[in-house]
């Protein structure tokens, strides 16, 4: 399937969960947050949440900032 990840078209395996996606990209979930189609998905829902074709996913992390 094809999703939009942080604004870029991205191919993902069909059964990808949010926790799987985050661990794949970040190597862990500490410091990560996810927005799917404009809504913040709570951390507790990540293991069950299966990403669907065409969804817009924003993967957010902590970066340097004052």
């Amino acid at each position: 399937m094809r999703i939009e990840l942080n604004g870029a078209p991205t191919e993902l395996a069909d059964d990808t969960t949010l926790v799987g996606l985050i661990e794949d990209r970040l190597g862990g979930t500490r410091g990560a947050a996810v927005v799917v189609d404009g809504s913040v998905v709570p951390r507790s829902a990540w293991p069950q949440f299966r990403v669907a074709d065409g969804q817009r996913v924003e993967l957010i992390t902590a970066v340097q900032g004052g």
Binding site: N6, G7, R25, L26, R30, G31, A32, A33, V34, V35, V40, V41, P42, R43, E58, L59, I60, T61, A62, V63, Q64, G65, G66
Partner: protein, 259 residues
């Protein structure tokens, strides 16, 4: 020592809060966190960038420093609330440094959006530390809204101009003390004397980033800031002498030898 900064019931071992923005590398952030002795540092929330080397949160966790996410870049209350909610999921903390700025040129807080956001976030269970103008009335309104601290600017972010209106900072400190809310001088610090001055005015802490991260030797400046905050706090507690128009001898005026 019992004289600790306490925010929302949490005692912090340092009155210096470090911003992590502006550092040239993770290595410098690590050095600065250590040299400053800070117990609390800010981060921003942004899209994951695969090109970034190293994990900021790993560096902060390793140093045992508590993390304070900010809402930098937000222009409206709605944006700030969403960013705070993201940060809560990401970092598993209810604490947020609330920043709602009006424009890029001044980065001054937008008071209307700021107060609105503070009220919404307090109602949503956040521990809100608002970056605010040096306006005693706005600080009062934020305090009345249930914010855990008020964080007036000394001067605009990144300018290093120091504390441009010390009288207003003193007014904010006096009113916050009555309400038991700590005052953190946030933004505008240029060098160590600015941080000491903030503490001498009665601020409970200082938050700074650029003054350290953009210094020629960041770790050394972090050390200087820690010493300045400590010295300023001690001077405030000790109570300075009143200013006088004319000189007052410190040596005895009686018993001079006669020649």
């Amino acid at each position: 020592m019992a004289d600790q900064l306490t925010i929302a019931g949490v005692s912090l071992s340092s009155r210096l809060i470090m911003g992590t923005g502006g550092a040239p590398s993770m290595q410098v952030i690590d050095e600065v966190l250590e040299a400053s002795g800070t117990a609390l540092c800010t981060v921003a929330m942004r899209r994951h960038d695969a090109a970034t080397a190293g994990s900021l949160i790993d560096v902060i966790d390793k140093r045992g420093v508590r993390v304070l996410p900010n809402t930098a870049g937000c222009r409206t209350a709605a944006e700030a609330v969403r960013t705070a909610q993201l940060a809560r999921e990401a970092l598993e903390t209810d604490w947020v440094k609330l920043e709602v700025v009006a424009d890029e040129r001044t980065l001054l807080p937008d008071p209307v959006e700021l107060l609105d956001a503070a009220q919404l976030l307090v109602a949503d269970g956040f521990t809100v530390l608002p970056y605010t103008n040096d306006d005693p009335v706005l600080a009062r309104r934020l305090q009345q809204s249930g914010c855990a601290a008020v964080m007036p600017l000394g001067s605009p972010i990144g300018t290093g101009l120091g504390i441009s209106n010390p009288h207003n900072i003193e007014l904010i400190v006096a009113e916050a003390a009555e309400g038991g809310v700590p005052v953190i001088l946030d933004a505008g610090i240029g060098t160590a004397s600015d941080a000491a001055f903030a503490m001498e005015l009665g601020c409970d802490g200082v938050l700074l980033a650029s003054a350290v991260t953009r210094a020629q030797r960041p770790a050394l400046m972090a050390e200087a800031m820690a010493a300045a905050v400590h010295a300023g706090r001690a001077a405030y507690l000790a109570g300075r002498i009143p200013r006088r128009r004319h000189a007052q001898a410190s040596s005895p005026t009686e018993g001079m030898a006669t020649f």
